[in-house]
Amino acid sequence: MAAVRHSSSDGSSHRGMLLLLLLPGLLALLTTFLLPLIWLVRASFASSAVAALKGGDWTLESYRTVLYDPFYWKVAWNTLYLGVNVAIFAVALSYPIALFLARTKSRWRGVLTALAVAPLLTSSVVRTYGWMVILGDRGVINAALQSSGLTDGVIRLTNNYFGATVALVEILMPYAILAMLSGFGRLNTQFEEAAALLGANRFRVFTRIILPLSLPGVLTAALLVFVLAISSFVTPRLMGGGRVFVIGTEVYNEATVTLNWPLAAALSVLLLVLFGSVILIYQRAMRALET
């Protein structure tokens, strides 16, 4: 009896200790993540910025705007389109690099990996300005094309979706490389050797062994890049020069220029829904790949 009571009190004190240890983390999550999220959802149902702050009536007005105004459908479509494009190109360009880094036996591998992700050390704002210099109307590319006589006028490379896409692809590539490197765990040269011994030439070793085994990494990278691209704001804003309308830029506009906080909040919730559905698709695909 005594032993039982002792062990049970021991168990509950153990659980109490665990809760105590978790408390700081839970509190931090609650205050920095959960509360703002709740407040965001609440604000999206408010009738005005003041109401969003002070509480008051619940209204579906902002969602009605988002759902019935064709402009916001266009914005949602633009965002999706940009995200998919950026994900495709960033993954396609990063894949050979990540594959090389994962497979090389060079002793420079560590250095090369560090170099591949080194751009992360620079702020994406700075890198965006870099792309403005390169792609601008008087930028490096246009100047070179004109002085070589290949073109007469200016080729619009910036202040449009093209510029935003190019800059985002480059900015997000290090993330894609990192995600792929961590997702290439199943790659193993022994599988390639075994396939070659069984009669597969290099092309078939790639299509039948390397590609399928690296798909989980590719998928993870695509998800990461897509999520970062559709939630990006600085790069589409700067590279778009006010002509690129994505959810990120519109949330910023509504929140700071128009001061329509409920609408900004509703657009943010829309973005969250987009995230959620993409993550669901990702999980489905991963499960299919791994069984």
């Binding site: 599988f191 075994a194 070659a196 011994l197 069984l198 009669g199 030439n201 039948r208 085994l213």
Partner: protein, 351 residues
């Protein structure tokens, strides 16, 4: 020449930047249907030879011939070699049947025939009914069988095994050892396996090639290797024993300093020096032709045998005695060990 299926002629492999060759002028040949063990400590070059035969790495010099034709220039995917990897290397994204059928698919074998041959291969390795399983759903022994089936189904010129049993636990290892030998006998495929385990090599192979530091030390049947080792390395790597060096004073008689006269069978001219090996189980307790007395220094009881170390003169002799005797020597006892001249192994002439 013609009856040799595989011939390796002065094969050399030097990795870029390496000072010494990993494989140094190794020559050996295999008749059709033989199972050869490449035996040696890690880093002796045995796996390198296997990988050169498979075509996974290029040869530096020398020749590999199959039925008299050089194959060194044939790329790996056209060489038709079956290889069972140490970790099996079964493709994790395919079923067992897809794994086994992969080689046939690469050869353009039609689906119907492929299915039939895969089923036959599964049957051969006793995995019938496991074809639709995922690789991860198989136990270690089953993965091994699947890997063997995958290599055999393409009817390879040679079947190569890289440390085939090292990933299995002890009980399964004995089972797979018999199983592999049985499959090899039934299919008659010429096989080479690499191992560092002497028991594995002695019990599975028709012949053993013992390697050390890139060189071939000795090749022969398990009995030849065990009873007639030609070098100190082979003698000490395979089994235990007491080494004795002596000067031959008359045919069949050598004077071993610090021990006495040793009678042996073998042709060494008088005046020459020779190295001898006596296996522990060749010693018997009691007087005989070669009798050496000494004090028991160390005793280990092993159930069926008692291993003792006896200090005789300047030498320490190791003997395995049967444990059914009425009294067994104990530490500190004075005993006499003897060995028949036929049981003294002449390892080689010493410098």
């Amino acid at each position: 020449m013609a009856d040799h299926h595989l011939e390796i002629d002065n094969l050399v492999k030097t990795y870029p930047g390496a000072l010494k060759p990993s494989v140094d002028r190794v020559s050996l040949s295999l008749p059709r249907g033989e199972m050869l063990a490449l035996l040696g400590p890690s880093g002796c070059g045995k796996t390198t030879i296997l990988r050169m035969i498979a075509g996974l790495i290029p040869v530096t010099a020398g020749e590999i011939r199959l039925d008299g034709r050089g194959i060194s220039a044939i790329p790996v995917h056209k060489r038709n070699m079956g290889m069972v990897f140490q970790a099996y290397a079964l493709f994790p994204h395919m079923t067992v049947a897809e794994n086994i059928g992969f080689g046939l698919e690469m050869r353009g074998v039609g689906k119907a025939e492929r299915t039939e041959r895969v089923l036959k291969a599964l049957d051969l390795v006793k995995l019938s009914g496991y074809g639709e399983r995922r690789v991860s759903q198989l136990s270690g022994g089953q993965q091994q069988r699947a890997a063997i089936a995958r290599s055999l189904v393409i009817e390879p010129a040679l079947l190569l095994f890289d440390e085939p049993l090292s990933n299995l636990d002890a009980k399964l290892r004995d089972e797979m050892r018999d199983e592999i030998r049985d499959i090899q006998n039934r299919t008659g495929v010429t096989s080479i396996f690499v191992t560092h385990d002497q028991d594995e090599a002695l019990s599975m192979a028709d012949r053993l090639a013992v390697m050390s530091e890139g060189r071939l030390e000795q090749i022969g049947t398990p009995r030849q290797i065990f009873d007639r080792p030609r070098t100190d390395f082979v003698a000490s790597f395979i089994g235990a024993g007491s080494f004795l060096t002596g000067t031959v004073v008359a045919p069949g008689r050598a004077d071993v300093p610090g021990l006495g006269i040793l009678h042996f069978t073998g042709d060494v001219p008088a005046g020459g020096k020779a190295r001898f090996l006596v296996r522990p189980h060749r010693f018997v307790l009691g007087e005989g032709v070669n009798a050496f007395s000494g004090v028991v220094e160390h005793v280990v009881y092993r159930g069926q045998i008692l291993t003792i170390a006896v200090r005789a003169g300047d030498h320490r002799l190791q003997a395995d005695l049967p444990t059914h005797a009425a009294t067994l020597p104990a530490k500190g006892d004075r005993v006499t060990l003897s060995v028949a001249p036929d049981d003294v192994t002449l390892v080689g002439e010493a410098a």
